[in-house]
């Protein structure tokens, strides 16, 4: 067997003549393929708005390597990850194999021989074929036998996509044809290296006794059948689900190069024709490309908290509805028939679907081809809030309160300094003699529960000898609620004036206990010329503990599970500091199944802190998460966001869990800090 690979090769075109037909059929196939691609892509160019040129090519290419080749996000679902990886890598290998044959036979470069031939063309491709067949079988079984929920189509009144099954059946057919051809070839042509293609060899043993003429004829039939199938597959590719093999990688390349979610686009209100997205042509070409990259895998839907509690939003269905709107009405719209389509917002996409979103970003985080449903929702909300003025009454009240008194808590009846009475905090406008400016945030200023967290934070910072100043009554809302609700105009006004205010105060460093404020001040205000050093209170406390400036002695605390807030986790990529603080405090820590970047939203974002989300017989998002926390056996649910605090306290109440207390990480830490501070050196007690 291993007598060197000398002379190892195989015959191409065994009993195949009229090979010119191959080129003719290929040309036809490629023409159909090209036309299909053109038809799809021209809508992106002709309808979509332009974007700045794609920058940072190496960052983008690295993303393509991680996501497409290494399948990073696919493997979050173990079975599906390996299944799809097997399909993709096998197909790539097999295509490479076909290319090798073409180079060898049509270009006359004799590469298909020797060790390369044995190891790659025979062994590797045999396994590739077998894995491909197995993976396709698994895929079909998941969809049609085990009925895995995530992949089932669930748009009411919309027929299932035939290309779901056809894509897999096509591949199975091609693999079968391939193995059949190899088996017949091996049966008719004894090959000393037959064992290098084990599966083909086994098959060939089955048909070994057949007469030569039968083998030749069947080979010819199967060969041309295989050619037509393969070329048909190529031609069909842009017309069905298989388009994703091209649009997916391009979408990953063209997507957001940064690791964090994209900041919503600011609007130039002096030069504006429309506010937000109300037509498919208001999206950028990249948004439209997103639509054609979707394979309806359902990972976004599975991760979506709104979908989980039964709200009329599925990010996947949103994308598919937009895609169908584009495909159905796009050509007419591109030809200039402006009224050819139904209303994008209101008819194609229901208002309720748009308002159900909590802006948690899980959909953006999960998508293996980096489709972004969330910014599309934000932009369509802008149309509803600023043009149509069709938004829930409680949101209107919150926005009016923002306009009137620079905070969204209508009915709060207080002032921003109530929480700090007796703490003697200096005003940042009066003095420059302080270490950090504490941006309190509207919730901590007006909500009784969050006021306690603010006081705990000040106590901790004082224990660490950090001097803190505040803006006092002059502190306005960071504007995040307005932007998330779609009122970009109000946000623009608030952001600009806040940037001016902070630039006049010139704080060295800003600390905030609210991740939404953190995101606004530290990240989004850059759009308005604001460049501030903003840190979350858990990060600051972590630094202080690490430097020994805040003394902590581990105390005997109850078991804690930590809930990652969306705006600290997915939006700011901060997961470690809060956990280190809990550990330093001495509390045994247990993780929920959905934690870190997979954290399940508390349900308070996207304006939902101002919506009364209830439905009889259904558990709301916050209750779902509270139950998840309770199931860990923890006695304390630690949070680091005022919205999470409110929502999860309500959630725990709804779940009827009397044994679970919701506390901020600062409050957990304070127990140990106070414990440490109370260690008497003198015996003055």
């Amino acid at each position: 067997m291993l007598n060197g690979a000398q002379g190892a090769t195989r015959i191409v075109y065994w009993h195949i003549s009229h090979t010119w037909l191959i080129y003719l059929l290929t040309a036809v196939s490629l023409a159909v393929f090209a036309y299909g691609l053109y038809r799809r892509s021209r809508l992106w160019w002709s309808l979509g708005q332009s974007t700045p040129p794609l920058d940072q090519p190496w960052v983008r290419l690295r993303k393509v390597w991680n996501q497409v080749i290494c399948h990073e996000r696919f493997f979050r679902d173990g079975v599906a990850g390996w299944m799809h990886a097997a399909i993709m890598w096998s197909v790539l290998l097999l295509l490479l194999g076909t290319t090798v044959v073409m180079v060898h036979a049509d270009l006359g470069i004799p590469i298909m021989q020797g060790w390369f031939y044995l190891i790659f063309q025979k062994l590797a491709l045999n396994f590739a074929g077998m894995f491909l067949a197995l993976a396709c079988a698994v895929a079909l079984a998941r969809r049609y036998v085990f009925r895995v929920a995530r992949v089932q189509p669930n748009r009411p009144g919309v027929a299932a996509d035939a290309s779901d099954a056809l894509s897999l059946l096509f591949l199975l057919l091609l693999v079968s044809q391939g193995f059949a051809l190899q088996a017949i070839r091996l049966a008719a042509n004894p090959d000393p290296y037959a064992l290098w293609s084990p599966f083909g060899h086994i098959l060939s043993l089955v048909i070994a006794g057949a007469p030569e003429s039968a083998l030749v004829l069947s080979y010819q039939i199967v060969w041309w059948f295989h050619l037509v199938t393969a070329l048909g597959w190529i031609a069909w590719l842009p017309y069905g689900k298989m388009l994703h093999v091209l649009t997916g990688p391009i979408n990953v390349y063209a997507g957001n190069p940064a690791a964090l979610p994209r900041v919503p686009q600011a609007l130039d209100f002096d030069n504006i024709e429309h506010l937000g997205v109300s037509r498919i042509s208001h999206f950028t070409w990249k948004d439209l490309l997103d639509l054609d990259a979707c394979t309806a895998c359902g990972r976004c839907q599975e991760a979506c908290p709104a979908y989980a509690w039964g709200a009329p939003l599925s990010p996947r269905n949103l994308i598919l509805d937009l895609r169908d709107h584009l495909r159905t009405h796009g050509p007419a719209l591109a030809a200039g028939r402006v009224d050819a389509a139904p209303k994008l917002v209101g008819e194609t996409i229901a208002d309720a679907a748009l308002w159900a979103c909590t802006s948690c970003g899980a959909c953006v985080e999960e998508c293996p081809v980096h489709i972004e449903p969330l910014p599309k929702i934000t932009h369509m909300r802008r149309h509803l809030a600023m043009e149509e003025v069709r938004l829930p009454q409680t949101l209107q009240d919150a926005l009016k309160s923002l306009e009137d008194r620079a905070h969204p808590y209508k009915g709060a009846n207080g002032d921003r300094t109530e929480w700090s009475k007796g703490l003697d905090l200096p005003l940042a406008g009066d003095t420059e003699n302080y270490d950090v400016l504490y941006w309190v945030g509207c919730t901590a200023s007006f909500d009784a529960r969050s006021q306690k967290v603010a006081r705990s934070l000040i106590e901790l910072l004082r224990l660490a000898n950090v001097s803190v100043a505040v803006l006092g009554d002059a502190e306005p809302c960071c504007g995040d609620p307005a932007r998330r609700m779609g009122h970009e105009f109000l946000y623009d006004q608030l952001a600009r004036s806040n940037v001016e205010l902070l630039q006049s105060v010139k704080p060295k460093r800003i600390v905030t206990a609210c991740p939404h404020c953190l995101n606004a001040l530290g990240n989004e205000y850059r759009q308005f010329g604001g460049d501030f050093d903003v840190v979350h209170h858990t990060q600051l406390l972590d630094e202080l503990v690490e430097r020994g400036e805040l003394k902590i002695t581990a105390a005997d605390l109850a078991k804690v599970t930590y809930h990652d807030p969306c705006y600290l986790g997915r939006y700011a990529n901060q997961y470690g500091a809060p956990r280190r603080l809990i550990d330093a405090a001495g509390a045994p820590r247990v993780e929920m199944a959905r934690s870190r970047s997979k954290s399940f939203c508390c349900g308070g974002g996207g304006g939902h802190a101002w919506m009364a989300d209830t439905a009889p017989g259904r558990k709301c998002i916050n209750e779902i998460r509270a139950r998840e926390a309770g199931a860990t056996g923890a006695a304390t649910l630690a949070v680091s966001c005022p919205f999470c605090m409110r929502m999860l306290e309500d959630g725990v109440k709804a779940a009827g869990d009397a044994g679970l207390a919701v506390r901020d990480v600062a409050e957990v830490l304070l127990e140990s800090a106070a414990h440490a501070a109370a260690q008497p050196i003198s015996a003055s007690r």
């Binding site: 209100f269 504006i272 506010l275 209107q396 009846n413 207080g414 009554d473 105009f489």
Partner: protein, 257 residues
């Protein structure tokens, strides 16, 4: 109903949700609070715009106040008012002073079929301005309009009565004071806000009105802000059962049961 000219009286007040302090130098409350539209006047603007949508009349918003009221007056333009006029004067906390200026302004501008205002200002809460203005101009008026509908002869108005509501027909020229139940003031679209961004707010100069006739004199002796520091006796122990027992005992004592 035929209506060609409609006026809305509009006041800007210190935010009633704020914490009120009396200024030591001039005794004026709430000087440091944000200025916002008086809520019932927003209902009045909305009622005016609804009438405009049915009758195509011209809606003029009148405000006695300071220049800081301009953005809020622009907002009423974005809601649908045609014109906004500012009479620059300081009549804060002086309902009668404001009423006399508004009456003079309306007389000067002349010819209004319907005048609308909130049932009372969100700060002073006197309910004086609407009725005073109407009577000064010789217009009929009705207070506490909680529902306004257009009918052939005029406006069909519902107002509360003891334990129910009354229905009236009001023929122009008429002044109505509007309650919060009458409507929900619309949020203007940003497109409209952008359109009125540079709209001019007309200034009206008025001669100061003559002193009030009659011998009676009224003046404010002083204002204060009460502090609500209670003496609440918190009942019960650690558990719900203990608290319930203590509370039941207290309630029984109070109810004599």
């Amino acid at each position: 109903m035929v209506c060609q000219k409609l006026a809305v009286l509009f006041k800007v007040v210190p935010d009633p949700e704020g914490v009120f302090k009396i200024d030591a130098s001039d005794g004026v409350p709430g000087k440091d609070l944000p200025q916002i539209p008086s809520v019932f006047d927003e209902n009045a603007v909305e009622a005016g715009v609804l009438i405009k949508e049915a009758t195509h009349c011209k809606v003029t918003v009148l405000c006695v106040g300071q220049a800081g009221a301009e953005p809020m007056l622009r907002r009423t333009l974005a809601m649908g008012a045609d014109e906004a006029i500012l009479i620059e004067a300081d009549t804060a906390w002086d309902s009668l002073g404001a009423a006399r200026l508004l009456a003079a302004a309306l007389r000067q501008l002349g010819g209004f079929d319907v005048v609308l205002c909130g049932r009372e200002a969100a700060d002073t809460g006197s309910g004086l301005v609407g009725p005073y203005v109407a009577q000064a101009l010789g217009m009929s008026f009705l207070t506490l309009a909680q529902d306004i509908k257009l009918v052939k002869d005029g406006l069909e108005v519902k107002r509360p009565c003891d334990n129910g509501h009354d229905v009236f027909i009001c023929r122009p020229p008429v002044l109505l004071t509007v309650t919060a139940e009458a409507n929900r003031a619309r949020m203007p679209s940003v497109m409209k806000m952008l359109k009125v961004k540079n709209s001019p707010i007309r200034r009206l100069r008025l001669d100061p009105p003559p002193p009030l006739p009659g011998p009676a004199k009224a003046r404010v002796l002083g204002r204060s802000t009460p502090s609500f520091v209670g003496q609440c006796s918190f009942l019960g122990g650690a558990s719900v059962a203990e608290k319930a027992a203590a509370l039941a005992q207290a309630l029984r004592a109070e109810r004599g049961i």
